[in-house]
Symmetry: C2
Subunit: 365 residues, 2 copies
């Protein structure tokens, strides 16, 4: 079996702790002979800044470019609150997304039946919830130029960020959303603010055109982003796939994730275009949660989001759908046994540690 090259970037805070569980999982899979993962590991975020003065080194970027997939933990923390803007921990994440061309960010918001009561929402509104947010990840206001702060003649400052989208960028993310809808609920909500933003006008036009020409059988709805935020809270189960730009995706996916009550459970995949000659695509997998400095280093973190992200890697990067299904089932089994890390434990319930949860998933495999 050909070896598969994985780069592990644990990052900061609980990123390190949850990645440790992925390493155990990889060792286990390699031992079964099912996989032949070769892993390398490097620094990103605050850890990279401390070592190299920047949020990701060129060497680490080189490893990422050469890998078949990247597993990313989380970055940031109060320790790096005052580092220069260009070297802030998030810059490492943004460079990975941009330089690897990971334009499609898939963020499932799934309510695990065992956890429906952990949601802020009434049980009947979230039970069975299964939304896929498809967020454009390499364009928009995150990367558009000019992006600067200038000092005016009167001494005031003026900050500018630029939201830019081209036809091509919108077309390719729309296709990702429609393709996913076809194997899910056959419904896409395209979300923008065409009533205020020219990028929203173009977004709506292009999504409509792609739909008409290539996916007429999928149901398409247009929804203003502010209303989408509202509707996610009101009746989240009306959604199947939501496609939106980088900034709206950031906001909407966080709201959607929180609905499920299982923030520590949610994985994500960031995918690039498929290379027509090699048939390969760059990909990075990471939990939706952040580095949680408040609980870091104490074995309290929930490793499931990162383990499930690894499951997405098995599925989308390595064609191992069956292994991915088995991993998902093992996660469900650990939950069914009643095991809970602190983030998903109910009041008064005894919580297990990061590694105890990892062991339970491994055992159920």
């Amino acid at each position: 079996m050909a070896t598969q090259k994985l780069l592990l970037l644990p990052g900061d805070g609980i990123g390190v702790e949850v990645m440790a569980e992925v390493k155990r999982l990889i060792a286990f899979l390699n031992k079964t002979g099912l996989t032949a993962f070769e892993t390398e590991e490097d620094l990103v975020g605050g850890a990279a800044y401390d070592a190299h003065g920047k949020a990701i080194s060129d060497a680490a970027m080189g490893l990422a470019q050469a890998a078949d997939a990247v597993m990313f933990g989380a970055v940031g923390g109060p320790k790096w609150a005052d580092v220069p803007y260009a070297a802030r921990p998030e810059a490492g994440l943004l460079r990975l997304r941009k330089d690897l061309g990971l334009f499609a960010n898939l963020r499932p918001a799934v309510c695990y039946p065992a956890l429906a009561d952990a949601s802020s929402l009434k049980r009947e509104l979230v039970e069975g919830l299964d939304i896929m947010i498809v967020r454009e990840l390499t364009g928009g206001v995150y990367f558009g130029e000019p992006k600067e702060i200038v000092t005016l003649e009167n001494g005031e400052k003026r900050a500018v960020d630029t939201q830019v989208y081209t036809t091509h960028e919108i077309e390719r993310i729309a296709r990702v959303a429609f393709d996913l809808a076809k194997v899910r609920g056959n419904l896409v909500h395209s979300s923008e603010k065409h009533n205020v933003m020219k990028s929203g006008v173009l977004w709506k036009q292009v999504v409509t055109a792609v739909h008409k020409a290539e996916y007429p059988e999928v149901k398409l709805e247009h929804i203003l982003a502010d209303n989408c935020g509202m509707q996610l809270v009101r009746t989240p189960k009306q959604f199947d796939v939501i496609v939106c730009d980088n900034l709206f995706g950031d906001m909407l996916s966080d709201v959607a994730a929180m609905l499920t009550g299982s923030l520590g459970m949610l994985p994500s995949a960031s995918l690039g275009a498929t290379d027509p000659t090699t048939g390969k695509r760059k990909a990075m997998y990471e939990p939706v949660h952040g580095s949680a400095p408040d609980i870091a280093g104490r074995g309290l973190a929930n490793p499931i989001a990162t383990l499930a992200s690894f499951g997405m890697a098995l599925r989308y990067s390595f064609g191992l759908a069956e292994a991915a299904d088995r991993l998902d089932a093992a996660i469900a089994a650990a939950l069914d046994e009643g095991l809970r890390t602190k983030d998903i434990a109910s009041a008064g319930q005894n919580a297990v540690s990061t590694s105890e949860m990892g062991s339970a998933v491994l055992k159920a495999l």
Copy 2:
């Protein structure tokens, strides 16, 4: 008593129906002698487009400039889906905000005790909720230039919107937020994305400086906008005042409004700077909800958001705090009597019409 000039702009859809109840309220107040409102009325939104080919006429803008306050209903509907961008219904609203200099948008998200069960959230999370979102309303990506769609050499299109903020714009909205916090819970959350946007970096700096220099006694927290959206769903009662830019305010205030379960109940005020010579400030009041074309013309709309917006006008534009308190009490009394329009009725409950609700509030006054 000096007359007070009010411009009524009912707009489209249910805007017309809810404004009718405000007219009855004004007639009642004038009859008591408590007020001497002189009202004028004009078109805005789709209605203005149908009459004049633009979303607000220069004549109506002139009336708005001359009025002591503007009451705004709602604009838009499928009928105007294909009008040119510059004449779309929302353009009337945006021109009013910009030309009147209404930089401070106050959006309370209050959970009426009688309606706590109408929320999607569990009762204990929203009971007693009282958040004030202070949204910057005349800057940011809504108005920054360039804002355009250009055709590239390869035939593709490229859309650009520009997010711009200056020190001055951030300072004045920060002061509004801190002043409100002082007479409320003494806590301000300033929300931006300084980890991704230069405008967020400046926003955080300026709010921090205003706080330090002028409001050290108010508690200030900084929160990333995506996390703010999450936290609003998780534990909304942690917030008192939230201050943010135009686009984040649009998203966050819609999410916050929906939490309360009383979308048809929520008012808003948009305020300009106080003129140093006259002591007056321009102001516009409008419900948070939209024109709801799906229920328009059927007497189903809830007039309370617009009546309560008129209450904000009594308070902020006309110094009639006592009358405003009495109006709020009358609204609460109508609810306590069990009256519900369709949007807030529980399943199976008989709903009253727009004018029945208006009459009940008048009677309770």
